[in-house]
């Protein structure tokens, strides 16, 4: 798996043209055949998704041979299908698609592939492997596992007997939230623990604050809290601070710059990275695919079919390494 | 019907009413405002269920559980508060609930034909079956309601104040239709506050007072007016207009309207009213009188001409400007244009006196409202009661009270006695005169030419959106006015 083929600069406003990211520069960046890429993702209604968008557009700007078409972000599968249909009508060369729901977008993606368009599937996987040329997956289940494993580590390190473990999930109706929770629960099971309290927020700062405020009342004493999303984490943290509660280890998710800074300042135990650069990577890969180039770090001349991103845990011991990668949300 | 009782929260609307109606007769129902006439009608129509009493139909006891049941029996009603659906066409309104249809699909040409036939019978072939009811004038709406009642081919037709907004000509047409119906054996219950109508059309009279039958089956033609009025009100009332001011007013006019026009409605209307003067607008239904005074008031934006109060020209189309300079309007349709039905009487009375920002003084508000309610004899005299639950005539008094409280200098009255009983009517007449004495300028619009002539000092005759004639009221007779109007219409 390739971890973070991201750019050096994490702020999209300061793109480094032609730079091949932290990984070795390669002749692949040299301008080639003109490529039109359509990009469609969910409504950028929270920080991580906004970062996805920002990284994607910034990445596209780096290449003089890439024209990016961005469809309106939407949470309605039907609407997103019509965006893809528009791209097909438009005869774009490639489509980078972060579906609102992988299964729901599968058939239209298959149609695009059949129309000869290179489809790159990002983050939420299609239900058919014929729908996309390449799939870049953030690992939601793995993210839960990472968080759970780290929690188990904490239990062992601190020698907690009968610890109270809480989980603040994101939008509960989304399959990705279910995957994260499942991963978390499975990892905890391995060290004999369970989730004692679970609340769900809406991926927004405000809902995070409200959910956390209620959670704190529900549990007078907490040992470990895993919050799925660092963007809502800003609100969660505000609730903790307002209640002056810090007796527990606070683990985050996604890996925003805010979270990293808190870790550095000792206000947070850890966060699990869920890279918001996936779509940007998708655009790079789409360009390579259309220009029929391979990935320079691989001996393979073809771009792989499936790339699963790692979900590393950031703690105070390695935060300095990851801080530059934290996204501002 | 025997011993009908109907209770409302806080009121005994009907308290043992007896009523017997024979086929082919016109049975008149008389009573003061709030006597319970409309409530009784609603019981017959199946709208209200009586709390006690017995209803027999052709000798059989029946229960009228809902309006459908009444319709099935052959009862059709024309309710007092015109209940038309604004968004529907005239034809659809008339046939609502018993549409001409096949398999649920409306048969439009048939409906239109039936509608035209009904309207022609009522003398109004010019009302288009396809016109939206919302765009009709009050009188036209009344006609449509009447057509609606007729469309049922009922054997008992109940008319609750059908003539309230109609002029003489219309009333005459209505009577022709009623006579046709009675000749065919249809029974009619007829409610009106105009006693002369009762004499003309009625066969027998039942008088209600405070929810009880005080007299039933009186002969309509021979019972003396005095007796009827005494039975209704418990006292004798002279049904007469108060004397006019004799002295010539030589003050400058308060209200001065010059060349006022509203495109497509009326043109070049000039009128001036001096303090203490009562000016009447006479004319037939649809002649544009309501629109003229609404435009004077700023409720409609004039397309030409000026309105000046005390020599200062008002901003056209601004009601607040008009009110600020002392104008007040009692509009034609009290329910939709004047009252907040769900609010208490007191709030409705003080509504026009809220223009200053600040805190409310409840005690003062209730006291002021209470005083006016007492002065105008609004019944019941409870100022906290929702206006909705007041009878029609009492609602009208509430609107009047609003402008009395404001002490406006020019009062515009559009059909001020619509639905008001004999007693209250003479009270309102006296009130208007009294106001004039105190220097208020009054403009009165009424479809009863007699009322305009009796009440006003000076009369303007309006037809087709033009002022045809202006003369002191004393110099005109009903006949003259009709003559002028008809000649004007012909021209």
């Amino acid at each position: 798996a390739v971890a973070l083929t991201a750019c050096t600069s994490n702020t999209p406003s300061a793109p480094a043209p032609g730079a091949g990211g932290g990984n070795a520069a390669s002749p692949n960046d040299a301008p080639g055949k003109k490529v039109t890429i359509g990009f469609s993702g969910p409504a950028a209604d929270h920080g991580w998704l906004a970062a996805i968008n920002n990284f994607a557009t910034a990445e596209a700007k780096k290449y003089s041979d890439v024209t990016l078409r961005v469809a309106e972000g939407t949470n309605d599968a039907s609407m997103q299908i019509s965006h893809i249909e528009t791209f097909i009508n438009d005869k774009v060369d490639a489509i980078v698609l972060l579906p609102t729901d992988g299964a729901a977008l599968t058939s239209v993606a298959t149609k695009a592939t059949q129309a000869g368009i290179t489809v790159v599937n990002v983050d939420r996987e299609f239900s058919s492997s014929f729908a996309a040329r390449t799939t870049i997956l953030g690992d939601n289940y793995g993210m839960g596992v990472s968080a759970g494993t780290h929690a188990c580590q904490l239990v062992k390190d601190k020698k907690l007997a009968d610890p109270v473990i809480a989980e603040i999930a994101g939008i509960d109706a989304l399959p990705l939230t279910q995957d994260r929770s499942r991963g978390f629960a499975d990892a905890l099971k391995s060290c004999g623990q369970t989730v004692d309290r679970r609340v769900a927020a809406q991926f927004t700062v405000e809902s995070g604050e409200a959910a956390a405020a209620n959670l704190l009342q529900a549990a007078p004493k907490l040992d470990i809290v895993w919050n799925h999303d660092d963007d809502q984490g800003v609100g969660v943290k505000a609730a903790f601070d307002a209640a002056k509660r810090s007796e527990f280890a606070f683990i985050g998710g996604a890996g925003s710059a805010n979270a990293m800074r808190w870790i550095k300042a000792g206000q947070m135990a850890a966060t699990v990275i869920y890279p918001p650069t996936q779509a940007a990577d998708g655009i790079r890969l789409a360009r390579l695919l259309v220009q029929q180039k391979g990935m320079s770090d691989l001996l393979q001349v073809e771009v792989p079919r499936r790339i699963v991103l790692n979900a590393p845990v950031v703690t105070s011991s390695n935060v300095d390494k990851y801080l530059p990668l934290g996204f501002e949300s | 019907m025997r011993g009908i009782v109907k209770l409302f929260p806080g009121a005994r609307a009907l308290d043992g009413v007896d009523l017997g109606v024979r086929p082919g007769e016109v049975h008149c129902l008389l009573g003061q405002n709030g006597a319970g006439k409309s409530t009784l009608i609603k019981v017959i129509a199946g709208v209200h269920r009586p709390d006690a009493g017995e209803i027999r139909w052709r000798g059989e006891p029946v229960t009228l559980a809902d309006p459908q049941a009444a319709t099935r029996l052959g009862v059709a009603t024309l309710p007092q508060e015109l209940d038309l659906v604004d968004g529907l066409s005239v034809a659809d309104n008339i046939h609502l609930g018993h549409e001409h249809a096949r398999f649920g699909f409306t048969r439009r040409s048939r409906t239109a034909r039936a509608t035209t036939a009904l309207l022609t019978r009522l003398g109004h072939p010019e009302i288009r079956p396809g016109a939206e009811a919302g765009g009709l004038s009050a009188a036209e709406r009344q006609i449509v309601s009447m057509a609606r009642a007729l469309s049922h081919d009922a054997s008992l037709l109940v008319l609750d104040e059908p003539s309230a907004v109609l002029d003489q000509r219309e009333v005459a047409r209505l009577f022709t239709v009623i006579r046709e119906l009675t000749a065919a054996g249809v029974a009619i219950i007829y409610i009106s506050h105009r006693l002369e109508e009762i004499r003309e059309i009625g066969d027998r009279v039942t008088v209600l007072k405070d929810g009880r039958t005080v007299a039933g089956g009186l002969d309509a033609a021979s019972t003396p007016t005095k007796d009827i009025v005494r039975m209704m009100t418990g006292r004798a009332i002279e049904y007469a207009f108060p004397p006019r001011t004799e002295e010539v007013i030589d003050a400058e006019p308060v209200l001065d309207v010059r060349g006022l026009s509203l495109e497509g409605r009326f043109a070049d209307v000039s009128l001036s009213v001096k303090p203490g003067e009562v000016v009447g607008l006479a004319g037939l239904v649809g002649s544009g009188r309501s629109e003229i005074i609404e435009t004077v008031y700023g409720a409609r934006k004039a397309t030409g001409g000026t309105v000046a109060v005390d020599g200062r020209t008002l901003r056209p189309g601004s009601v607040p400007a008009a009110v600020a300079s002392g104008l007040g309007l009692c509009p034609e349709e009290r329910k939709s244009q004047a009252l907040v039905l769900g609010d208490p009487v007191s709030h409705n009375i003080t509504m026009a006196t809220l223009d200053r920002a600040g805190f409310l003084d409840f005690a003062a508000e209730r006291a002021a409202a209470g005083e006016l309610v007492a002065a105008l004899d609004v019944r019941p005299s409870d100022v906290d009661r929702e206006v909705r639950t007041l009878s029609g005539g009492n609602q009208q008094k509430v609107v009047l009270a609003r402008w009395l409280l404001r002490e406006c200098r020019v009062l515009l009255l559009d059909e001020p006695t619509r639905g008001v009983d004999v007693g209250a009517r003479s009270e309102i007449y006296a009130l208007v005169r009294d106001l004039a004495h105190r220097g208020v300028a009054v403009v009165v619009v009424s479809s009863e030419i007699e009322e305009v002539l009796g009440l006003a000092d000076r009369v303007l005759v309006v037809a087709g959106g033009r002022v045809l004639h202006e003369a002191p009221a004393g110099e005109l007779t009903e006949h003259d006015v009709l003559d002028i109007v008809l000649r004007g219409e012909a021209a």
């Binding site: 309106e72 599968a77 039907s78 729901d101 509960d172 109706a173 | 309006p67 549409e99 699909f105 439009r108």
Partner: protein, 318 residues
Amino acid sequence: MKGNRTLGLVIALGLLCVVGAATAGDRFASVDNLLTVLRLASVIGVVSVGMTFVITGGGIDLSVGAIVALSSVWATTLATQSMAEDVHWIVMVGCALLVGAGCGLVNGLLVAYGKIAPFIVTLAMLAGARGLAEIIANRRTQIVRDQGFIEFFGGSVLGVPVLVLVFALVAAGGWVLLNRTTFGRRTLAIGGNPEAARLAGLKVARHTTLLYVLLGLACGIAAVMLMARTTTGTSTHGGLYELDAIAAVVIGGTLLSGGRGTVVGTVLGVLIFTTLTNVFTLNNLDTSTQAVAKGVIIVVAVLLQQRLANRAGESHAR
């Protein structure tokens, strides 16, 4: 007035098309793109036609999106799908319609006989139905396995996608029902003046209930269409449909207070919103700018349309 109102919408749509063609050229003015717009409009369009009836009848329904979600989920459960496998995919369709109509019935009964404000009833249904959908689906996306179903609804008849055809049928049926039947007349009457309607002997409560059932049925149809389009049933389907549908209905000229409704206006309203999104996408506007532009365009369009209606109204009066 009514004709002018519709004319205003047609002009707005026309202008939008002109802008689309001018800025995106052939990419906009192609048959394929037209069909894309129509397909997108179909699902929300069916819901909006149903919503026209409820709003015309003096009600409102916030639960349409949730009902769509619940119907789609229920129709794609393992049980339903395996039954459909044994019998025919029509079972899934029937299930979706039944669930939709059932939810509508609950709404209708509570509004008409429980006498609770429609806003509250359907708000409760919004929460309840979506919650139930999540529970049934266990928050997973359920995939439609029946290829016959997908092929049927994903297919075309004489070049017209079946989805668009369904929308056209629903719209035509809705128009006839509202304008040419006693049911429609009564709906207008009940919305415009419920008291008068009662006096006229209409069965107001029963009729009101029927209106909600009708809308529920429309939601069921929309769920089927969505299942075909996305090949899935999930509790996240139909998100914010309530706003979209009400917006289309109101922009179309139906009075939110009831008593006046136009199916043609609703259809135009839906098309305007869908075309707007399409033109935006073709012109590569970013989402935030789109939102701002959308807001401004709505206001300007309605203002213009009102001017137009007034002017026409005046000249009519002369």
